[in-house]
């Protein structure tokens, strides 16, 4: 892949994908902080990703924004760029770049499971796949998300007095959890930490049904008996959580399949729901794309590269720096 380097730089058009530092031209796959940084000159992204960046970093976080609709191809010089839904969060895409007949697909972060809070994932054939590998170990096999949500509801039945503090990432995970609760016919109001408010409102603007949600007010006398309160994991570890009397600490993340990890973080009710592909999704998708070359951007690169070797596919770890696991505690 001579026209693209290990920093995800597309040289013929002087453009980076998800650059970790401000650049002239950036294609942004989705709005999570380790992919979308402020300060670029020109940003190409979906309408939703642009809006999310503006909500998080302000209207002027880039000089120029250019929208690209899903499945529409944009030709820049000799390079064709097409966005396909990645199914990760609202507005997330895979980026297909075509140059001189070669197709390279960047997955960004993705999941193939259905999710009512964003466009569903679409597979794309390519010669070279640049994939994430956040959960790239065979120990990660995410269970059915509806069964996980039922665990939360069962716990509410069992402990009707205790507030359920649910640790979720503010963008994507929070809204997905609210959506999943609504799918299970949970129709009470859901409380959210202030940090989640703007993004929840934005999802509603985009016609995603979240039902009634309210910001918690630390000053009122409300006791939150048996209520669901969503908050970023950092807030749960923080002084903020001291308001709640005898809470059940829940955490929603793919990492929660590891009991010791849940225990370490004092999580009493771990819910294994992830917005990333698990081992099976990662490896099946590699096969499905028909790619001869696989480059792994971030996550558990070694295992995916090893798997590629076992399956006669060229695999290489790029080990991009600056990509934190967003779901990480």
């Amino acid at each position: 892949m001579k026209w693209i380097n290990e920093n995800l730089y597309i040289s013929p058009i002087n453009t980076y994908i998800d650059p970790s530092k401000p650049v002239e031209n950036a294609i942004i796959t989705h709005g999570h902080a380790d992919h979308a940084k402020p300060g670029h000159k020109n940003v190409l992204a979906t309408k939703e990703t642009i809006n999310i960046m503006k909500i998080r970093y302000g209207e002027n976080c880039a000089q120029n924004f250019q929208e690209l609709t899903l499945n529409k191809t944009l030709k820049i010089d000799d390079v064709k760029i097409t966005f396909y839904p990645a199914g990760h969060i609202l507005g997330s895409v895979q980026v297909l770049a075509e140059y001189k007949g070669e197709r390279i697909n960047f997955t960004g972060d993705y999941k193939t499971k259905k999710d009512k809070t964003c466009e569903n994932f679409e597979p794309v054939k390519c010669h070279t796949l640049v994939t994430e590998a956040t959960f790239g170990l065979p120990v990660f096999q995410h269970p059915n998300e509806h069964n996980e949500i039922k665990k939360l509801l069962r716990s509410l039945e069992l402990f009707p007095k205790r507030p359920h503090l649910v640790g979720v990432y503010a963008l994507g995970k929070a809204q997905r959890i609210i959506g999943l609760l609504r799918q299970q016919k949970y129709d009470k109001e859901i409380f959210i930490h202030g940090a989640l408010e703007k993004l929840c409102n934005y999802y509603v603007e985009e016609k995603i049904f979240l039902g009634k949600f309210l910001k918690t007010n630390l000053k009122d006398k409300k006791e939150y008996h048996g209520e669901i309160i969503l908050a970023p994991p950092s807030a749960i570890k923080n002084v903020w959580s001291r308001k709640f009397v005898d809470p059940i600490i829940c955490q929603v993340s793919g990492w929660m399949s590891i009991k010791q990890r849940a225990k370490q973080n004092l999580v009493e009710l771990p819910l294994i729901i992830s917005d990333h592909a698990d081992w099976n999704e990662l490896t099946q998708y590699i096969k499905l794309t028909g790619a001869e070359n696989v480059y792994v951007t971030h996550g558990r690169e070694e295992a995916i590269v090893h798997w590629c070797k076992m399956n006669q596919i060229n695999g290489l770890a790029l080990s991009l720096s600056g990509r934190e696991d967003e779901e990480d505690l």
Binding site: L137, P138, V139, F140, Q141, K237, N238, V239, S241, R242, I249, S257, I258, K259, Q260, A262, K263, Q264, N265, L266, V267, E268, L269, P270, R300, E302, A303, H306, W307, M310
Partner: protein, 521 residues
């Protein structure tokens, strides 16, 4: 296996003690015999399944999962049982046997069929069951439940006294069907074989200053609190058994201790090492602890003996209802009749006022031998547990050292949003060397200050551990120091606690590790 695995999963993730008790009560209520009894045995470490080595499990996994992928996964997850439970790729329909049947199968499994059987169990199990099964086979659940906690849950479940459960506990065996009958009020309290059964000990409460005002010194006796390990000795027909305070049979570690006594007797005392009844320090005693095989050299270098404190049974008569004075007479009689090199009598200290005793504590204490004083009420019977108002321990004044805060971890339960477990260290050249950990001693206000300091001065995170800026000095109190090969600093503090915050003190005034060793070791 389903309900057993869910139970231990819940216990692992529950950090509050009371909630753990509730979880266990629920389980005892909803689980039939003999399952609940076997589960109880597993939790209290009263059952061992030894005939399947963990290497066997590893071998089975290696045949099923790519070796490299397994190694990478294990490296990431860090726990063998969890790694296997998560990575296992095969599925078979069916249900695992209940825990009681499973234990029977695992105990009697023969080598030829074990691979096939375990393979099939792993495939039938769901993730949590697999995890529990491997924990069961590899021994040691490590779910943070002590047997004391399990017994507390039993008491709550059966609405019985914890003390009554303690009294029979060491005389009953899995699956404890008689115990559960009694707890459910469908049977009498189980009878136990006295000659082989540990009786829970009577323990002392710390003496507080205000206690003196209320206590009449004529009603009390005093003796040294010897710095060894508390033991209970059961002698029957020249056969001798030694139990630790928690009821572990440690007879094999001290094979030299003998008695020719034919009659049944149960004694309470302090096990020490030394010659001519003069104790060596605790460090020397530690050379003899936790050894399954004892060499002659160890016995010669650190010969063991017992300072006798009390007598519980004599000739099958339970003496525990008698008062201390009567028991002491019987103890002395027994001692003079059966005198040998392994038994010494713990001396009674004469004193005529609290002031007098205070002076004795100050002037006559031998640091190497004594942990402090014991003050016992003459009229007290021998009551298992830690009853209030009978025995007091008056420890020697703690030693203190100023140390520098190095790392912190969040606490549990009520303290889970606070950084409340602290590691502190002393200078070793111009580097800091950690010497211990403490998680109490401070008051709520001091905790808030410490917590805030940690949050605002973190320089690195290692998982849940925060390394902090090395600027905060704390005064640490501790009972004594032992040399330790397990700790990098070479010292281990006994009972360390944070006595005061010394924000005023510059870190340059904290002493060197070598100075500390010179002074205290």
């Amino acid at each position: 296996m389903r309900s057993f695995s869910e139970l231990i999963n819940k216990l692992l993730l529950t950090s509050s003690r009371n909630r753990k008790v509730d979880v266990l009560c629920d389980y005892f209520k909803n689980t039939p015999d003999p399952d609940r009894g076997f589960t109880l045995a597993i939790i209290t470490n009263s059952l061992e399944i030894k005939n399947i080595p963990i290497s066997k499990i590893k071998e089975i996994v290696r045949e099923t999962v790519d070796e490299e992928l397994f190694a990478l996964s294990y490296d990431y997850v860090g726990d063998l049982a969890e790694t296997i439970s998560l990575i296992w790729p095969n599925k078979e329909n069916g249900n695992l046997p209940q825990i009681s049947k499973m234990i029977g199968i695992l105990k009697n499994i023969n080598k030829n069929e074990s691979t096939r059987k375990i393979h099939s169990f792993l495939s039938i199990a769901n993730e949590t069951e697999r995890w529990a099964l491997i924990k069961l086979i590899s021994g040691g659940l490590r779910i943070g439940v002590s047997s004391r906690l399990a017994k507390t849950a039993l008491a709550k479940f059966g609405e019985k006294k914890l003390d009554d459960i303690e009294k029979i506990w060491h005389g009953i065996d899995p699956p404890y069907e008689n115990l559960f009958k009694w707890l459910c009020d469908t049977g009498p309290i189980p009878e136990i074989d006295l000659k082989n059964t540990f009786n829970p000990m009577m323990l002392a409460n710390p003496l507080e200053d205000k206690d003196f005002i209320n206590l009449n010194c004529n009603n009390f006796v005093a003796e040294w609190k010897w710095d060894g390990i508390r033991v209970q000795i059961i002698i029957n027909d020249s056969n001798i058994k030694i139990f630790s305070r928690t009821g572990d049979d440690i007879s094999l570690s001290f094979p030299e201790i003998k008695s020719l006594e034919k009659n049944m007797v149960i004694l309470d005392g302090e096990l020490l090492v030394g010659r001519n009844y003069i104790p060596m320090n605790f460090n020397s005693l530690q050379q003899r602890l936790n050894r399954k095989k004892v060499s002659l050299k160890h016995i010669n270098d650190f010969p063991a003996f017992v300072k006798l404190y009390d007598i519980l049974y004599l000739n099958n008569d339970d003496l525990r209802e008698k008062n201390w004075e009567e028991r002491r007479n019987l103890l002395e009689n027994w001692y003079y009749k059966n005198k040998n090199e392994f038994f010494d009598l713990s001396k009674i200290i004469n004193f005529n006022s609290w002031k007098n005793l205070t002076a004795i504590r100050k002037n006559e204490i031998i640091d190497e031998q004594h942990e402090g004083l014991m003050i016992k009420r003459k009229s007290s019977p021998y009551i298992s547990g830690r009853p209030k108002g009978h025995w007091y321990k008056w420890k020697k004044d703690p030693k203190t050292v100023d140390a520098i805060l190095m790392y912190a971890v969040r606490g549990h339960g009520k303290r889970s949003s606070y950084y409340s477990d602290f590691t502190f260290g002393l200078w070793d050249g111009n580097q800091l060397s950690p010497i211990g950990k403490a998680y109490f001693g401070f008051n709520d206000n001091e905790l808030k200050i410490l917590d805030k300091f940690v949050r605002n001065n973190t320089i690195k995170k290692f998982g849940p551990v925060r390394e902090v800026e090395k600027t905060f000095v704390i005064e640490v109190a501790f009972d004594s120091v032992n040399s330790s090969t397990r700790h990098k600093s070479g010292v281990a503090l006994r009972f360390p606690r944070i006595k005061r915050l010394r924000e005023d003190k510059p870190t340059s005034e904290v002493i060197q590790l070598c100075e500390f060793k010179l002074e205290f070791l």
